[in-house]
Amino acid sequence: MTMREGRVFDIGYQRYEGPRGGRAQARVAIFKDGIRTALGIGRGWRLKIVPWLSIFAAVLTALIMAIIVVTVDRVLDGSEATIDLPSHSDYYGIASIILFLFAALVGPELLCPDRRSGVINLYLVRPLNGVDYVGARWTAFLFVMLLVACLPQFVLLTGLVLGDPNPWGYLRDNWLDVPKFLGAGFALALYVTTLALAVSAFTTRSVYAAVFLAGLFFISLLVVNGFTERPDVGLDTRKWLSLLSLRDIPLFLNDIIFFNNGATLESVGEGSSAQNTARLHPNALLTAWYSLWVAGPGLLLLLRYRRILS
């Protein structure tokens, strides 16, 4: 048997002569890294817990909703009783705690550690500026947030379709729910992404940003609901106070998309939540209020990163 001879050549260091993508490629790289950071990909197991647990909880919520709807439908089959069962329009309201917690805990991870550890200095000496950097991070988190918001809606849709005795019939009758929940999901993702990153731009510690955001969402919800649900508070006061619940601002858009609002005093009634009470406002006002809460923090975020550069 003859042995084949092999030779090892050390070609040494080679200069890179290939293509360089420049600014666009740098933005894409930071966008991709933002997605990996948000989902804990390529990081230790501790950094995977929060995102994946949140996604699991959001999907589980949708699954439970689907099971309840299908089960109740089958139990009531043939009966004349009517029960208002949860559907796509209710999902964001029900799962908002999970989605807001996800934004509060994961959003800051895209900006704070880079400034705390000084990695931002390495980005800014590459072919991009502060606005490119924060734009890529914002887009990455918006993408992840959209995924986290809409994935459970598809799970819910699948459950409802498969649970219906006539799946094709269900799809034909309810196909409009898909663009509606995508639109409402986008509105929610846009809002929480911008707010979470704007808050994160003002601290280098993720935990401070997370606590502040959770406080903003949940304290404002509790305080505002505390007032709107009190019958001794005047309706006008309740109506305007309802706009201050930060958790509910994207849900106003959800209601406009699904119901086109038009609530009456009777339908809202006394002791209603902030989300319901706000439906007394015209759609244009609610949309403008929502837009202000996206544009304001967005501008702050942009200005903050322009300043970091100078």
Binding site: Y16, K32, N121, V125, P127
Partner: protein, 323 residues
């Protein structure tokens, strides 16, 4: 661009931070090779580097990188590498992943970025540790990762800000060796910003000395360290004192330097006298040759305009336990 063109040019570069003048009409240029940017803390070294990187806009004057205005053309940064003095590494990411990402952020495609990350980690001696989170690395290893991220996208010029900061003597030697190797083997030019004269002397070919934002010295390191008149260093195994007496008797002016003798102002005639003095004293010669002065001596002896500043730096260096 011609290879002999300067890589960096500062033209009347001025930077004021309110009432503080960080750079005061500094004029200098840096070409291919290893250049030491020397000065005490606050001399304007880091400000100059940040202006060249386009991170800070000059108050006045112009900073050119590869012939282009650094503050206007950010694409030029794809050919620059930067190793900051302070911490700049994520603790939770593994080195291999981090370097790949940094290469991609500089415009390299994913596949090439991965391959170059592996090559550079091998160059800095961290190939075996590439899958460990950076947070678990020692200070010396982190400095190497900082150097690696600066080189991973194959820049034409790397700006290193105090690369030996926080390293023990052996780590410092290793880092300076890596810097030297980076130019010699890779052809990547280096600007070494430091307040440690020893680092510059051992590593750099050229030197730019800044003091209070102004350029006080600029030129080849050898031009500072070469004696104006030749000095000969004589080391003998025995009979040193006899040799010293004999040299005095021959009319050669000397001074003692530890266990050796330094013959000053040596011309052709003095070489013959040294030979005769050696023979007369019966000392066995271990080594004899022309002596090169160190940068520290140059500035201590007042051989440079920056002597005062440099002496202060030397004290800081000694206090910091530098080699």
């Amino acid at each position: 661009m011609n290879t002999r063109d300067p890589l960096l040019v500062a033209r009347s570069l001025t930077k004021n931070y309110r009432s503080v003048v960080a750079l005061d009409s500094a004029d200098f240029s840096i070409g291919a090779g290893i250049t030491g940017l020397l000065g005490e803390n606050g001399a304007g070294k880091s400000t100059a580097i940040k202006i060249f990187l386009g991170l800070v806009k000059p108050t006045d004057g112009r900073a050119e990188v590869f012939g282009r205005d650094a503050s206007l053309d950010i694409e030029v940064r794809a050919r620059l590498g930067y190793m900051p003095e302070h911490d700049c590494l994520p603790s939770s990411v593994i080195a291999s992943e981090f370097l790949t990402h940094m290469a991609e952020s500089s415009g390299l495609p994913r596949k090439q970025a991965r391959s170059r990350a592996a090559d550079i980690l091998r160059h800095v001696g961290l190939f075996e540790e590439r899958y460990r989170p950076i947070g678990d690395y020692s200070t010396g290893m982190k400095q190497r990762v900082k150097l690696a991220q600066c080189l991973v996208h194959d820049p034409s010029l790397a700006l290193l800000d105090e690369p030996t900061a926080g390293l023990d003597p052996s780590g410092r030697e290793d880092m300076l060796e890596l810097v030297r190797k980076t130019y010699n083997d890779f052809g990547i030019s280096i600007v070494l910003s430091t307040h440690l004269m020893n680092d510059v002397e051992r590593t750099a070919d050229r030197i730019v000395v800044l003091r209070e934002g102004r350029v006080v010295e600029e030129g080849e390191v050898a031009s500072f360290t070469t004696e104006k008149s030749e000095t000969v260093y004589i080391e003998v195994n025995d009979r040193r004192d006899e040799l010293a007496s004999s040299l005095s008797a021959q009319g050669v002016s000397t001074r003692m330097d530890g266990s050796s003798i330094v013959a000053l102002d040596v011309g052709e005639e003095e070489f013959d006298r040294i030979r005769d003095a050696l023979a007369a004293s019966g000392a066995s010669l271990r080594r004899m040759g022309p002596r090169r002065r160190s940068l520290i001596e140059v500035f201590e002896d007042g051989g440079g305009k920056a002597s005062e500043a440099s002496s202060r730096e030397l004290s800081a260096e000694s206090a910091g336990g530098g080699a």
